[in-house]
Subunit: 209 residues, 4 copies
DNA sequence: AATGAATGAGCTTTCATTCAT
DNA sequence: TATGAATGAAAGCTCATTCAT
């Protein structure tokens, strides 16, 4: 009993440290870029000592992979939450998901920079690609099925759920680039309006003026 | 005269070497990623010796910046060419520009990987940001004015040129991400159809069935 | 009384732990080599935790020295046992000592590897040298006095006890090297025959055909 | 022609640097031991900079292997020279080879320490084992065939060439241990006398008083 | 007495940069 | 202009040692 409690506690502590280091890693990547982030930076950011990262993650490569995993999981969690907390109809859900991507806490330069840092390495790191692809697919699948529901409900013609999903998925990712690259001129309100304009165009009965 | 001719020749040679090294850099970045590309890799890829990069570019930082410049200039050149070679109407031009972004020679994993490699460093390198931003702005401005022309011509209502530009710009960038991340499932034909579906929705008279 | 018994028990436990760790050390050295043996390896081999070695030996250096001490003591103990258990004559004793060195339990690659691991560090570690030297001297002195007895008994001429001791001592050490380096071709039976052939040559009346 | 000469020069320089670094390595191993020899030590000993070893040997492991190779080759070269420079008879040759092993330039604590440093790692490094084994075999084969010649010439009975080779090979290796461990009491003259006494015993007509 | 998380010095290795040729 | 040997700073990683539990 005591031993079990002790182990549970220990495991919890370990997990906490890992989280702490992953957080520090994201901060460093956002601030200095992936290429210039050293293990010493990460440890320093976490207020811990040199060897700590290798103690908890074995290697830098592993730390980065785990960080990406965490990033993707965190995103999915917020995605699911937004999906569930929204109104019951597919249009409401779709809107909620898009709003999520443009929400300041997500579509934030520092956060987005981390995503782009990983995307920048995707070509040469199959592991990163897989994780990123999975998140993208997850998003795309749900958006597509929501679009399908809407199309069925509204009897829309000349639109396919697949195309809508492609447009929305690529748009949200592309908007993140604007947020990253043009922080001065990027305007999340205008971006939202652009998306809404698109949705009104394709699904006029579900997204009225 | 002779001296001038000699200088011109010399300058041309220099420029040729620089191009050769920039090409090698892009190949390396595409293959190994930005973080793992060393000057030795670049020199090796170009079939030249160790010190060559510093001889022609002074520093690695400089080489990368010049590479990005080259990438952006090359893009703009093709962009302008596509613009000019297309039919005279704004709708034709708009379509030509979007087709450019999805053309196999541009929307190619290796090419796109280089763009993402730089975007991944944008947050921590203001110089990169500026170059990328400029290209984006250039694209966006032209797309927006084309949209404006189309709206005026067609008397479309409920659509703003700004929104259309946002949608199209972010979409094309976002589609590159799919090309990079999901090379298996990304289908440039479906992507083109999705864009067309969008354009038909907003500009039905300019993009008929 | 009770306290004394408790102390004795405690001391015994401590001693047992130290033995356990020394055994683990020898196993590790044999398997991974001295340079690659870490305290974590030793603790792991003993089935105990990280800090255990420093708790019982203060430092790695100390652990190694104690291990060598143990190795030497163990050898001497077996040496003395072999000496005492053999027949009463000097020739019998001499033979028993040589047989000991070639006995599978002693002239075993893993055991021998540990000796060589320490000999490999002797030049730069006076402490090791001293311990090794003492064992060698111990062996040499006894072998020399046995040779002297045999020479006196047999009235052998043209032979000195000192030379015989040199030959036998260096030979047994050298045979260990063969055991270590040529485990495939080393043949302890042939080795024993070679030694016997030598002894028959110098002491024909004590070691008849 | 010029290019070839340049390349030859360059190759020669490279080889010279490698030799210089191998020499430094042996000095360091002799002085500090194998486990405590760092690449910085080696570079320092050679009067060169930090990165030099990896430039010429890729890794520390590789440096050590090459050092052992060099050690073995050098030994064989001296062995062959001693063999050839000695008188024509097998007994003279045998004596020359043994004298070589006890010669101050070979049976020197610093030199011997390097051999033992490698022997100490043999068990856990198959590569080292192979190199050491080969040298040993080389020695043993030649000693055995010389012994065979002597036996045939002298018509000696009760002796086998194999046994003589085992005795002499193991003895010379074992004497190196004495040289290493008991530098105070080891006496190369007495050692030589012991070997001679042995040879006189087995081959009395070839090695008369 | 024992654990194992944490430290930090020190190691090997990498690599941009320099420079004699 | 081009080479490639050499440098040395800085990185990732290892591990003996410490210490709160």
């Amino acid at each position: 009993m005591v031993a079990t409690a002790g182990n549970a506690k220990r495991t919890a502590r370990r997990e906490q440290r890992r989280r702490q280091l992953i957080d520090a890693t994201m901060k460093c990547i956002a601030r200095k870029g992936m290429g210039s982030t050293t293990l010493a930076d990460v440890a320093g950011e976490a207020g811990l000592s040199q060897g700590i990262v290798n103690l908890h993650f074995e290697s830098k490569e592993n730390l980065l992979t785990e960080t990406l995993h965490h990033l993707a999981d965190e995103y999915k969690a917020q995605f699911n939450k937004a999906y569930e907390n929204s109104g019951p109809g597919p249009a409401e859900k779709l809107l909620a998901l898009i709003e999520l991507d443009l929400r300041p806490s997500i579509c934030d330069r520092r956060k987005v920079a981390v995503w782009f840092a990983f995307w920048g390495e995707v070509k040469s790191r199959p592991t990163y690609r897989k994780i990123c692809d999975e998140r993208d697919q997850y998003y795309d699948d749900i958006v597509e099925s929501l679009a399908r529901e809407i199309i069925t409900e509204g009897g829309y013609e000349g639109v396919t759920a697949e195309s809508v999903a492609i447009v929305l998925t690529s748009m949200t990712n592309g908007l993140w680039l604007s947020c990253l690259i043009s922080p001065g001129s990027f305007d999340r309100h205008k971006a939202m309006l652009a998306v809404l304009e698109y949705l009104r165009g394709v699904f006029p009965r579900h997204f009225p003026q």
